[in-house]
Subunit: 403 residues, 2 copies
């Protein structure tokens, strides 16, 4: 057979960027371009549909570019066998969008109003969305998913889904626990293939997530089935489950600090600012985050944190005494009740027999006292940084305590 | 029609995480789960193949989980109409992998040796890879893309691609320039639809990339065509093009600093550690990165950088004088020749009429002197942080100078 191109399908969770780059390079070495990347739920029917495609609602996002919109309208026409015809309403929308920016519609953009026959142009302020329903599938083409488009999308999905079982989904996110441990605790759910609820356990960015999917005759019925399953799964996960859906670990940490009126300072060596970056991604983080220091050099550790030279000489910068001095120093100098410190060897260089690459010490200070722990993470530089930041935030979450 | 589920296809570049979450929520509100996410090249044939699938090499990555491997083998069997039969070689590989971890193969994992008839089990140290070739498509199923699997993947793609045109690809990455400006400069290339080379311009993570794809009778011919096109495109992009393929802006900045034997310190306010995180993602960054401070509070700006109280009182923390004091302070206190400072309003709160959300001041210090610039970025908190970090690194790249 003649291969035209390649695509990459990850089941359950996306590949790490460096792994994706490695696959791309392996194929490029054969002159076969990797032209599509997918992440598909861990579900046989979902994978089959992703690879062969029937009965799906496909949302195509073109971004701001004219050429991507062109690619989308032509491809949908060809796939559905529909002729391209001029849609007056789309033409008017294009002209209006340009008028607002005080320039006429360029000739080459007029063709964006040529849509497959039968296409519906969506209302909405110049977002240029349209859809086409066929017996086999529904296509929605949008520039960017703004609020009017999203509202229309829900309405269309509801109409399209009428008369068949609805699905309700929830992702329960855990930290500080392995995939195998989560699978073990959820064994009764993972085995129940015929039930109305399916549970998949996946590892995403150094966390382990349990993905729940419940079916019901109506959305309300599906939601009720989901709620019952979720309560049981949450009970099995206990404090290891920190949140659900798009709740992040840093957001939960921030919320707990704010509730207890605690402030935080962070001293990072091998994570290089990642912990500060994650914490300051939380809106309103200035309430709890006082400052951070990225003490990459030994001199910076002494200058900014007062780590004693003797600690560095006797134990080295990657050691429990150094992590403890770092976290005590950053709290003392910033006047915060809580602190985090991370010092380790992210690699690829700098490892030794007693402290191989991936060795990381984390210090956590809360009003109750200071704790340090030693870890040995595996993976490349990016993975060691990510796992260190993850574990530091999770240690703090557990020490700060319940909500 | 009855919609079973939905999938999301982004053309050219992935959606931002918050946009993807918004689409997922819009569909969940209708009880239709978003079960697959794809990123497809800006190319009609590629989009058609992604949606309908023929002549493709599909690489399925299952991760470590047993259940994902199960989903993959069953789905490929069903799609290709192949029976599942016991593959002795896979069974032996499974047993061997468990023996190495000193435990017997669990009963429930034995079924992983049931593969579609005609499947080829790949050599390799326990990575459990296999492939199935049909007249229509080729499927490769792997756990993780380790080196032996990648080498085999290249060999298989080369065999599968024998006799047809090869494709060579290159991504040229720019910084500090808009998508419209790049499109304008590359107009001759974007128009040439019939040529052997196609160029697509896409915005990815606050950067603009030009993706080149060249066809040729052989891989060597495709590479030669690509090289000629690349030289012309690079000439049109000039210094705005900082690198290609998986080269990152931080890596280029680091390389330029090391060549000129310069060291760097960073003072971040609204970016919260993101610049430090990006710079320390570069292996060997301790050669050029001395330290960073995340000065979220005014007190931290005074304590750690010596920003005069008068500057904060007269101009505010988000101002050119503050950015300048920050970058001068961080260089002076750390003894580095180069420095970066970022202070701004990432939102959603904190904006005013004269300094709306998205207002960011960036300071750059090089041996020649200090420069500050004011920006107004649009988008949410994550976008403002990302664009600020990007622009700061790019200003530094240009000031440090050529390679």
């Amino acid at each position: 057979m003649g291969l035209t191109a390649a695509r990459l399908v990850a089941i359950g969770a996306p590949l790490a960027a460096d792994e994706e780059a490695a696959v791309t390079a392996a194929l490029a070495a054969a002159g076969v371009p990797l032209e599509a990347r997918m992440v598909v739920d861990e579900d046989e029917a979902a994978l089959e549909r992703a690879l062969a495609a029937r009965g799906l609602l496909t949302v195509i996002v073109t971004g701001a570019g004219v050429s991507a919109a062109d690619v989308a309208r032509r491809t949908v026409a060809r796939l559905t066998g529909a002729r391209l015809v001029l849609h007056d309403r789309m033409l008017a929308a294009l002209e209006e969008a340009h008028r607002r920016r005080d320039r006429p519609l360029p000739r080459r953009e007029e063709r964006l109003a040529l849509l497959p026959q039968g296409a519906a142009v969506w209302p909405g302020d110049g977002e240029m969305a349209w859809s086409l329903e066929t017996p086999d599938a529904t296509y929605v083409v949008i520039g960017r998913p703004g609020p009017p488009v999203l509202a229309e999308l829900t309405a269309m999905a509801r109409r399209g889904g009428a008369g068949r079982a609805a699905v309700a989904v929830r992702t329960l996110r855990t930290a500080g626990v392995t995939l195998a441990a989560v699978e073990e605790r959820l064994t009764p759910w993972l085995a129940g293939e015929a039930s109305d609820v399916t549970v998949a356990v996946v590892a995403v960015d150094g966390e382990v997530w349990a993905r729940l999917r419940a079916r019901g005759a109506t959305l309300e019925a599906a939601a009720a089935t989901l709620a019952a399953a979720e309560a049981d799964v949450r009970a099995r996960l206990g404090e290891d489950c920190y949140g659900c859906d798009d709740e992040t670990l840093e957001r939960v940490v921030g919320r707990r600090l704010v509730r207890r009126r605690l402030t935080l300072a962070v001293a990072e060596s091998c994570t290089g600012g990642l912990v500060g970056h994650r914490l300051t991604s939380v809106p309103g983080s200035s309430t709890f985050f006082e400052r951070g220091v990225v003490v990459y050099s030994n001199r910076a550790k002494q200058d900014l944190l007062g780590v004693p030279e003797e600690v560095l000489r006797t134990h080295g910068a990657v050691s429990a005494p150094c992590a403890e001095a770092m976290v005590r120093g950053v709290c003392a100098r910033s006047g915060t009740a809580c602190g985090l410190s991370i010092t380790g060897i992210a690699g690829p260089d700098g490892g030794s027999a007693s402290k191989p690459v991936g060795t990381v010490f984390i210090g956590v200070a809360v009003p109750d006292g200071v704790e340090t722990r030693r870890f040995l993470f595996t993976g490349g530089r990016a993975a060691v940084k990510a796992l260190s930041a993850q574990m530091a935030l999770d240690m703090l979450r557990r020490r700060v305590g319940g909500e």
